[in-house]
């Protein structure tokens, strides 16, 4: 009877010890993972920070206006080009092809534009 009790206790101690070590190693592994992730987050944040500065640099108004002048062929807007919605005359009659889906119409226009 005593032997059985001792054996039970010993087994219990062994299991507890094994469990303890297992948990300990698991925690160590997770903590390492966590600190790696944190380092990664910091690296990414730093990269974002640098990229933001670069984005701001690339958005220099002088540079943008040069690019716009070279590639867009647009001029600064003047006051007379702006019209408020209320000022526009109302459409007299609805077009007949009202049922046709606007998307389909757009696609047709795009297709014809491509074909040209």
């Amino acid at each position: 009877m005593k032997k059985v009790a001792a054996l039970t206790w010993l087994t219990a101690i062994a299991i507890a010890a094994l469990g303890l070590f297992h948990v300990k190693y698991e925690v160590q592994r997770l903590e390492k993972d966590l600190s790696q992730e944190h380092q990664l987050i910091l690296d990414h944040r730093e990269a974002i920070h640098v990229l933001k500065a670069e984005w701001s640099f690339l958005n220099q108004p002088t540079r943008i206006s040069e690019l716009a002048a070279r590639h867009l062929g647009l001029a600064p807007m003047i006051g007379e080009q702006v019209v408020q919605l209320e000022v526009l005359p109302e459409r007299k009659e609805r077009p007949n092809d009202q049922d046709e889906a606007p998307a389909a119409h757009l696609e047709a226009t795009l297709a014809s534009a491509k074909g040209e």
Binding site: R45, H49, W55, N59, Q84
Partner: protein, 585 residues
């Protein structure tokens, strides 16, 4: 825990060895003392075991409590990384739309451990190919030295770092450092300022917010709108080039909140190399420079005379004869030689009429009024570079006369803009700021004139642009109003004949002003196109027109169609002062 053990032990004692002595003990008297000792031992054992039991019970309960009943989650051992951890050195400065104006970037500096370098000459050659500023011979000497640490180059660009790294030479190392970077360089140099190599602010916001930038990782958000700033800088630079001027400055101020939306001072400098710039370029003309502003001061004189009730709108003065005081003669630039009404005096910028107005109000009234508008003390703004106004001392009658048309009192453009904002916004002086105010909060101001006076000044300023000296500032559809100013510069004790300040201060839209726009060009020279004139109307007014035209769509101010604009003007301007007939009178 101990007590159950005692039973078997006793039994064992009695049965195995001490049975006989124990029985004897009952009869032997001497055994009493031993028995007593035994009893004492037992009692002690009991006390100790009880103590231990209590301790284990407490530990057990505590374990139960922690395991089952602990509130919330357990504290995390590893702290989450903070946003600022990598850039804790110095916070960013951003504009009102969040565009980065100043930031701190990690950078790498190259150093070597000469002890680990086998072939200094070869290494020096390969480095020189990437970093041309390193001379191979000097580098080879450094690399062959006995020390264990030599700097090769501080603050490499990321590309240089990458290329040096890809050489894969053992013994070369990078040291991480922090560098202050200004992505928009000269455009915001005077506002943002700059920092030295140790990242200490030496000018502008960098200096004024030194502590905040160091301690608080959140960016400092300015009221500056980079787009408007760019427009102002570009137009001023164009005017400077056209009129061969030595400098220029411009300001855009939100009249409702007192926020400075643009502050430009030309020539500018590169804040990453402030030492290379001449002093003149580092000088902030907008806040530190003080100038005699000339005719733009007539805004204040007219407002004062009307607000004090010294004159009425329908009054007027004969301006046909110059005013002679002591050895001075006050004359008009383009004499009208007749009686002018108050609005006419303002629109045609008559010095004589304005002096009469100021004399009606008196010296003390002028002092008090200009003081209320903040023109007699330094402007309050979050910049270390703030110019102190130059006041006449003593303030005699002759000073009152000259100050009425803007001579004899020198103020900074910043003060002027703040005061004009108060004139057009309904009569409240708002505190100026370079920091973005939260939207939709009303900024409390100090009333400096009646709303009625402010309304009258608005339509008079509109008339200046419609029919008077400021016609070139008329941005179609935006109802610009304003006043031109041309002042001869003081050279020593005399006024110069050919060095002058040409300025224009405008506001728009005049029925409900949102922004004050100021442009000033320092020492412009007349051109053929301007018939040799280099006055505010010819030089600065067109700058303001173009700035208004370009910035209005950006800040969400709709241009008015012509008929609507005329309708608004009719409501704004009293009928008897309206139209070309009035202008031709």
């Amino acid at each position: 825990m101990m007590s159950p053990v005692r039973g078997p032990m006793n039994r064992h004692d009695q049965t195995a060895r001490h049975m006989r002595p124990a029985r004897l003990a009952a009869t032997v008297q001497l055994e009493g003392a031993a028995n007593q000792a035994l009893e004492t031992g037992r009692t002690r054992l009991l006390v100790a075991s009880l103590l231990f039991a209590a301790a284990f019970l407490v530990i057990g309960l505590r374990l139960l409590g922690l395991g089952l009943l602990a509130p919330g989650q357990e504290p995390s051992l590893a702290e989450a990384p903070r946003a600022s951890q990598h850039a804790a050195v110095r916070a960013d400065i951003v504009d009102r739309n969040g565009t980065v104006l100043a930031t701190t970037l990690p950078t790498a500096s190259l150093y070597a451990n000469p002890g680990q370098i086998r072939d200094p000459a070869a290494v020096a050659d390969r480095l020189a190919a990437i970093l041309p500023e390193l001379s191979p011979s000097a580098t080879a000497v450094k690399l062959a030295s006995e020390r264990s640490f030599v700097w090769l180059k501080r603050k490499l660009t990321p590309r240089e770092q990458y290329r040096v790294n890809s050489l894969g030479i053992p013994g070369l190392y990078f040291q991480r450092e922090q560098e202050r970077v200004y992505p928009h360089g000269p455009l915001t140099a005077h506002v943002v300022g700059f920092a030295n190599v140790d990242n200490q602010g030496l000018a502008g916001i960098e200096q004024a917010f030194e502590e905040t930038l160091r301690e608080n990782p959140d960016p400092v958000q300015l009221s500056i709108d980079l787009r408007v700033q760019h427009i102002m800088a570009e137009e001023l630079a164009a005017a400077m080039a056209e009129f061969k001027a030595i400098g220029a400055t411009g300001l855009v101020l939100d009249v409702r909140s007192g926020e400075v939306v643009a502050m430009v001072s030309l020539p500018s400098f590169n804040p990453e190399a402030p030492g290379a710039a001449p002093n003149d370029a580092r000088f902030n003309r907008a806040s530190l420079g003080i100038y005699e502003m000339g005719s733009v001061f007539k805004i204040f004189t007219t407002a004062m005379a009307l607000d004090q009730g010294a004159v009425g709108l329908n009054d007027g003065f004969d301006v046909s004869r110059p005013i002679r005081v002591a050895r001075f003669t006050i004359n008009d630039f383009k004499p009208k030689k007749r009686w002018l009404s108050i609005p006419e005096i303002f629109i045609y910028s008559s010095n004589i009429g304005t002096v009469h107005m100021a004399m009606e109000a008196g010296t003390s009234a002028q002092q008090a009024f200009l003081g209320d508008l903040g023109l007699t003390r330094s402007a309050a703004l979050e910049l270390p570079e703030i110019g102190e106004p130059m006041l006449p001392s003593p303030w005699r009658e002759i000073n009152t006369m000259t100050i009425s048309y803007g001579h004899g009192l020198a103020v900074s453009p910043l003060q002027l803009v703040g005061a004009v904002a108060a004139v057009v916004n309904g009569g409240e002086l708002k505190p100026l700021t370079l920091l973005k105010r939260p939207e939709s909060t009303a900024v409390p101001g100090r009333r400096v004139m009646s709303a009625e006076t402010s309304r009258n000044m608005r339509w008079m300023m509109r008339l200046v642009v419609q029919h008077g000296t400021g016609r070139k500032a008329n941005a179609e559809g935006y109802l610009v109003g304003g006043k031109t100013g041309t002042a001869d510069k003081l050279l020593g004790r005399r006024y110069s004949d050919d060095a002058r300040i040409a300025s224009f201060i405008g506001a728009f839209p005049m029925d409900n002003p949102r922004y004050v726009v100021f442009a000033m060009v320092d020492e412009p020279k007349g051109t053929k196109k301007t018939y040799g004139y280099a006055t505010g109307g010819w030089v600065a007014a067109p700058v303001v027109r173009r700035v208004v035209e370009r910035m209005a769509p950006l800040v969400g101010i709709m241009p008015r169609p012509r008929d609507e604009a005329e309708g608004v003007e009719q409501l704004l301007i009293p009928a008897n002062f309206e139209g070309p007939a009035f202008a031709a009178r």
